[in-house]
């Protein structure tokens, strides 16, 4: 599954909640939809009565009383009621983190997601990109930030949308009831390839989650290879970090375990040697405007060696 599936499929992911923090949002959506339908029906009936009804009905509809009641009192009461109902239902979605909760800091960047896993004291244990791993059946606190412009994280099946605003930290809770892969998408236009800014959330069984966490926290242990030489010689380390090697750039995604990611290019491509080579050679053809330049300077052999090196960073 890629992030492009965030909005596709049947039932529509947005109406198919998979956790307790998405459920209330869907309920509110259905209630609003139902209320809208009721109001529309009333208006249509009133219009029909005004056009075709007996004289007595039309006289009533034309009175000032109806304007006050139907045009003022009714919307005020109904909309206030809906607002209070919606806020009660969703008020727990943004509560600050409690001790012991899993915390993940997600920073929106043009046009990818920096994902930092926080330890108990709130420091960053390690960094990853473009996917969020969570244990199932436990609330996870996402601290949303932005590095440049406003982005918005939207994981339709797990939570409502929440903006990522430069200089602010917004809290979004999510929980997956079952292990699985959930697609997400940037939901606030953030320039150029905004539509290709996706993400996947992977909910693991608890034991698999612990194993993933242990693996992810370790530095990479690449063997000397042609691909490692190409990586160093092409200057990839100026923008990318591979923990355990000399590469320590911060501008782009951490690549320490890129081989274990499901997707490439922020949720848009499957991840294998073919797409890795394609991305390095000419990411501009795949995601026009993204910050990584094309590399028309690598030979076929070097490109393959580099793709093999990256794929092996599991």
């Amino acid at each position: 599954m890629s992030a492009l599936d965030a909005l596709r499929g049947w039932p529509p992911p947005v109406l198919d909640p998979a956790g307790p923090f998405a459920g209330p949002v869907t309920t509110v959506a259905w209630v609003l939809f139902a209320m809208g339908a009721v109001v529309l029906a009333i208006v249509l009936v009133a219009t029909a009565a005004a056009l075709f009804g007996p004289r007595r009905w039309r006289a009533r509809l034309g009175g000032e009383r109806l304007v006050w009641l139907g045009g003022f009192a009714f919307p005020v009461v109904v909309l206030t009621g809906l607002l209070i109902y919606g806020l009660t239902l969703t008020r727990d979605l943004s509560a600050p983190p409690a001790p012991g909760e899993v915390r993940v800091r997600v920073t929106g960047e043009m046009w990818w997601w920096r994902v930092g896993y926080l330890d108990a004291r709130g420091g960053e244990a390690f960094q990853d990109a473009n996917q969020i791993h969570i244990p199932p059946r436990a609330p996870v606190v996402l601290e949303l930030e932005a590095a440049d412009v406003i982005h918005s994280l939207w994981i339709p099946r797990l939570a409502g949308k929440l903006d990522m605003i430069p200089g602010r930290r917004n809290i979004l809770r999510l929980q997956a009831d079952r292990p699985g892969v959930y697609a997400a998408q940037c939901a606030e236009f953030c320039g150029g390839p905004h539509a290709l800014m996706g993400l996947v959330v992977v909910a693991h069984e608890p034991r698999a989650y612990a194993a993933w966490q242990a693996r992810q926290g370790r530095p990479a242990t690449p063997l000397p290879s042609r691909g490692a030489e190409v990586f160093a010689a092409a200057g990839c380390g100026a923008c990318h970090t591979v923990r355990g090697t000399a590469a320590n750039g911060l501008a782009g995604p951490d690549l320490t375990h890129i081989g274990s990611r499901r997707t490439l290019g922020a949720g848009i491509l499957p991840n294998h040697q073919g797409t890795l080579a394609a991305w390095v050679a000419d990411s501009q053809a795949l995601k026009p405007g993204n910050r990584m330049p094309a590399y028309p300077v690598l030979s076929g052999r070097d490109l393959r060696a580099l793709a093999a090196y990256l794929e092996a960073l599991k």
Binding site: P270, H272, Q273, G274, A277, A278, A281, L303, R304
Partner: protein, 128 residues
């Protein structure tokens, strides 16, 4: 007697010519059938594996990469990647590990099983 020889010679010539023509016809239409392979399944596999990350593939909307060149008209190309004869078995081997055939190629081994590679090859032979 001489007339009989002439007739024989003529008949042989006709048979020979027919045989040659038939041979030519055989060579003109190389069999590019892959028994049991399904082009439609192949198209779906090519889409899922994102072959389009490097190739512009008719029938696959996105992506449209530029690294490997367009695959439009692949069925009528005499060579694969300008290097080896465009024959089904070679193509299946190429799809699974191009560098075993052409060490200088930039195309990495794509994670496809032989059955999947056969489907993709069948799909590529639909690109007239």
């Amino acid at each position: 007697m001489r007339r009989w020889d002439g007739l024989c010679a003529g008949a042989s010539a006709v048979i020979l010519a027919a045989g040659l023509l038939a041979a030519c016809a055989d060579k003109g239409l190389p069999p590019r059938q892959l028994a049991g392979a399904d082009p439609e399944r192949g198209r779906e596999i090519a889409r899922r594996a994102a072959c389009g990350a490097c190739h512009d593939i008719p029938g696959v909307d996105w992506p449209k990469g530029r690294t490997g060149g367009s695959l439009a008209g692949f069925a009528s190309r005499p060579l694969i990647a300008g290097r080896v004869p465009n024959q089904p078995q070679t193509l299946v081997r190429w799809l699974r590990d191009p560098s075993a055939i052409a060490p200088e190629t930039g195309m990495p081994a794509v994670p496809l099983t032989t059955a999947e590679a056969r489907d993709v090859a069948a799909f590529l032979y639909t690109l007239q």
